[in-house]
């Protein structure tokens, strides 16, 4: 900053704004970009109303949850290639067990599936932390294992769930409608609670700490293995929730490997666009959640624009590269000014 006559108060305020921008700027930018995209989408279609809001909100739920799942693991300094597989396994298990069951039972199954996914992935995290086998290897294996087990649970697409569970995620017992409240709540509440837990509790901060520098964290008294296991377990829980949401949206399960791979890759893309540093320790899951919605929203927008569907993938990749370039530029600027 140039000198002149800036009073201490003003300087303090400027510093705090600067800090806010540094900390939250990227997250805010992601959500603004999402708003801009949706605003643009409204100009592409004849009418934008409750039906469209509901559609975007509910259909992006799996992407959002998977972005949260991947986000926490990446923040802890790892990567979870198995996240998509766990989503598919949860989706298949939930759909297979819930078919024909009364509403209360389906809710219990949903909770059990989420808890089971958390336990399973917590175990994966423990294996990684204790064995020191690179996470990319272990979770690549779990991607195959989870999808394989999903095929055993549900050999081909099918199953179902209760209308009430569908209502909880989609705002309608038929899974389609104009009631966007439940879907928006299903996006906002888990995301904000999770973000608050990560940034305001001792356990959450320990996940950031081991992602930033696990040796330093260890020397400061952080229990590294425990933090790692917690990161994978909570991530697994969200992958499980993504699977349950898929079941609610489609009223069926789908065990195919393609869905798992797409899930994992999209979650990684969301984490990158969401501003979480791939090295760990930096970023917000709120940004990743917004990025998850952005990647979902691109698809109806591109269709509405009449773009060749094969180009859509190129655009997706282009956005990721552009984001990385911009992130690099920002970082460079920060170094220069400090």
């Amino acid at each position: 900053m140039s000198s002149e006559t800036s009073a201490p108060v003003r300087r303090g305020r400027a510093a705090s704004v600067r800090r806010w921008v540094r900390r939250r700027g990227w997250t805010a930018g992601v959500w603004l970009l999402l708003l801009a995209l949706i605003g643009w989408y409204t100009t592409l279609i004849p009418e934008f109303g409750e039906f469209e809001i509901t559609s975007i909100a509910k259909n992006s739920l799996p992407s959002v949850y998977l972005a949260l799942a991947q986000g926490v693991v990446v923040i802890s300094g790892g990567v979870d290639l198995g996240a998509g597989g766990l989503m598919v396994l949860s989706n298949s298990t939930a759909a297979a067990l819930m078919e024909g069951q009364p509403p209360e039972v389906t809710v219990l199954i949903a909770l059990a599936v989420v808890a089971g996914a958390a336990l399973l992935n917590g175990f994966v995290g423990w294996v990684i932390a204790v064995s020191r086998i690179p996470d990319i290897v272990v979770t690549l294996a779990t991607l195959f294992i989870f999808t394989g087990v999903a095929l055993m649970v549900l050999p081909s697409p099918g199953g179902g769930t209760s209308g009430q569970l569908r209502y909880a995620f989609t705002g309608s017992t038929t899974g389609i409608g104009t009631n966007f409240g439940p879907s928006l709540i299903a996006i906002a509440v888990p995301t904000l609670l999770f973000a608050a837990w990560l940034t305001r509790t001792r356990t959450g901060l320990s996940i950031y700490a081991i992602g930033s520098d696990d040796h330093a964290a260890y020397l400061s008294g952080v229990r590294v293995v425990r933090a790692k296991v917690t990161a994978y377990a909570t991530g697994g829980g969200f992958a499980g929730l993504a699977g349950v949401a898929l079941t609610a949206i489609a009223n069926s399960g789908d065990p195919r490997f393609d869905n798992a791979v797409n899930g994992t890759l999209n979650s990684l893309a969301a984490v990158v666009l969401g501003g979480i540093l791939l090295g760990g320790g930096v970023g917000s899951v709120v940004g990743a959640a917004g990025a998850g919605i952005i990647f979902f929203t691109l698809s109806p927008i591109l269709t509405a624009m009449g773009i060749d569907p094969n180009t859509a993938q190129v655009v997706r990749g282009g956005v990721i590269v552009a984001v990385m370039v911009v992130a690099g530029l920002l970082q460079l600027r920060r170094w220069r000014t400090q």
Binding site: S55, G158, M305, P309, A322, L330, R333
Partner: protein, 352 residues
């Protein structure tokens, strides 16, 4: 200064991303120019499959020659039932007049199709039927498809032998229907056993690999394929396995093999499963939209079987040298389609 600059960079980032996301797009004003023109949308969930590509081309071609369609919107990506639901919702939001859907699931689309119907959007399911009441179904009879081919194969084997059963896409409604037909035929031939059952996912290279693996290690007497055929035939030589009777679809490459390798002992039959079913659906859609003609809710196209033992001239008649191997040789379907073969090969929609 610093703050302003980082805001500038941030804004630049956003503009850049928006420009990237928007590349190639123009403002699409949709319909509204002519008095009676319509927009037809296509929802497909299997990309890179030649049968599906040809289905889309037949839709484009028929839409073009109909003269009443001003735009064909494609929602085309690899996804599952939940992804197709969101695609269909996007198409409803766009306010298209008709949606031709190749369903990923027989029942999962019921509610979204009902929602489309409420908006006055005509929905036609092609390739296989959906359970939604409002939907029109234009389908090849998949049960008969499998049964006819399987019966020919089992007869050819003299009623006994080990058959390699190469299915399609696990969980896909058409695959389920074909399995039903196959099992019906199998029930009448107690001495036929299934040597191996695999899912090709209707992917030519997957099917080829599976055939190579199995033919290299196992003796089979006959092969039934769910339309992944010409790449399987190519594996006999590689696997050092003698030719055995094989059933496939009306793929151009397979027909060519049946004609050219007939002298070397390849025996096989094609069962027609024409992708121009998309063109039939388009013709029905335009009829219904303009009120030109009524159509029944369900249109079922019956498959035909041609083999290279009795019907070689018929196969030679079907074969089209200018088509790719994986493309179906059946292009026009009377009395519905009015395009020419060239229209489908061009694959151009209205205004392209």
């Amino acid at each position: 200064m610093v703050i302003r600059r980082s805001f500038q960079v941030g804004t630049g980032a956003m503009v850049l991303a928006l420009v990237l996301a928007g590349c190639g797009g123009g403002d699409d004003s949709g319909d509204g120019d002519g008095a009676e023109t319509f927009t037809i949308a296509v929802s497909n969930t299997l990309v890179g499959n030649q049968w599906r590509e040809q289905m889309v081309c037949a839709i484009n071609a028929q839409a073009r020659v109909s003269g009443v369609v001003d735009d064909v919107v494609l929602a085309n990506r690899d996804t599952d039932a939940s992804g197709q639901i969101s695609d269909l919702e996007g198409l409803i939001s766009q306010g298209v007049d008709a949606i031709i859907v190749n369903p990923a699931d027989r029942t999962a689309l019921d509610d979204v199709i009902a929602a489309a119907d409420e908006q006055g959007i005509l929905v036609i399911s092609v390739d296989q039927a959906v359970t939604a009441e409002a939907a029109y179904n234009v389908t090849n009879d998949q049960v008969a498809y499998a049964e006819l081919g399987a019966r020919w194969l089992f007869e050819q084997l003299g009623g006994s032998g080990d058959v390699l059963y190469m299915r399609g896409f696990d969980g896909h409604p058409a695959d389920a229907d074909r399995d039903e037909g196959f099992q019906q035929a199998l029930a009448d031939y107690p001495d036929i056993t299934i040597a191996n059952e695999v899912f090709t996912g209707w992917d030519p290279s997957t099917g080829a690999q599976q055939a190579l693996d199995i033919l290299s290690t196992t003796q089979v007497d006959g092969i039934w394929t769910s339309g992944i055929d010409y790449t399987v035939v190519e594996q006999f030589e590689a696997a050092g396995h003698p030719y055995v009777p094989i059933v496939g679809a009306d793929n151009n490459g397979f027909i060519q093999q049946l004609i050219e390798l007939e002298g070397e002992g390849l025996v096989g039959a094609i069962v027609t499963n024409p992708p121009p079913v998309g063109g039939v659906a388009t013709a029905i859609a335009t009829d219904l939209l303009t009120g030109a003609a009524e159509h029944p809710q369900d249109t079922l196209l019956t498959p035909e079987v041609f083999n290279n033992v009795d019907d070689l001239p018929a196969l030679e008649n079907l074969y089209l040298p200018e088509l790719a191997q994986g493309e179906s040789a059946t292009i026009e379907i009377a009395p519905w389609t009015t395009y020419t073969q060239q229209d489908v090969l061009d694959c151009k929609g209205p205004g392209e």
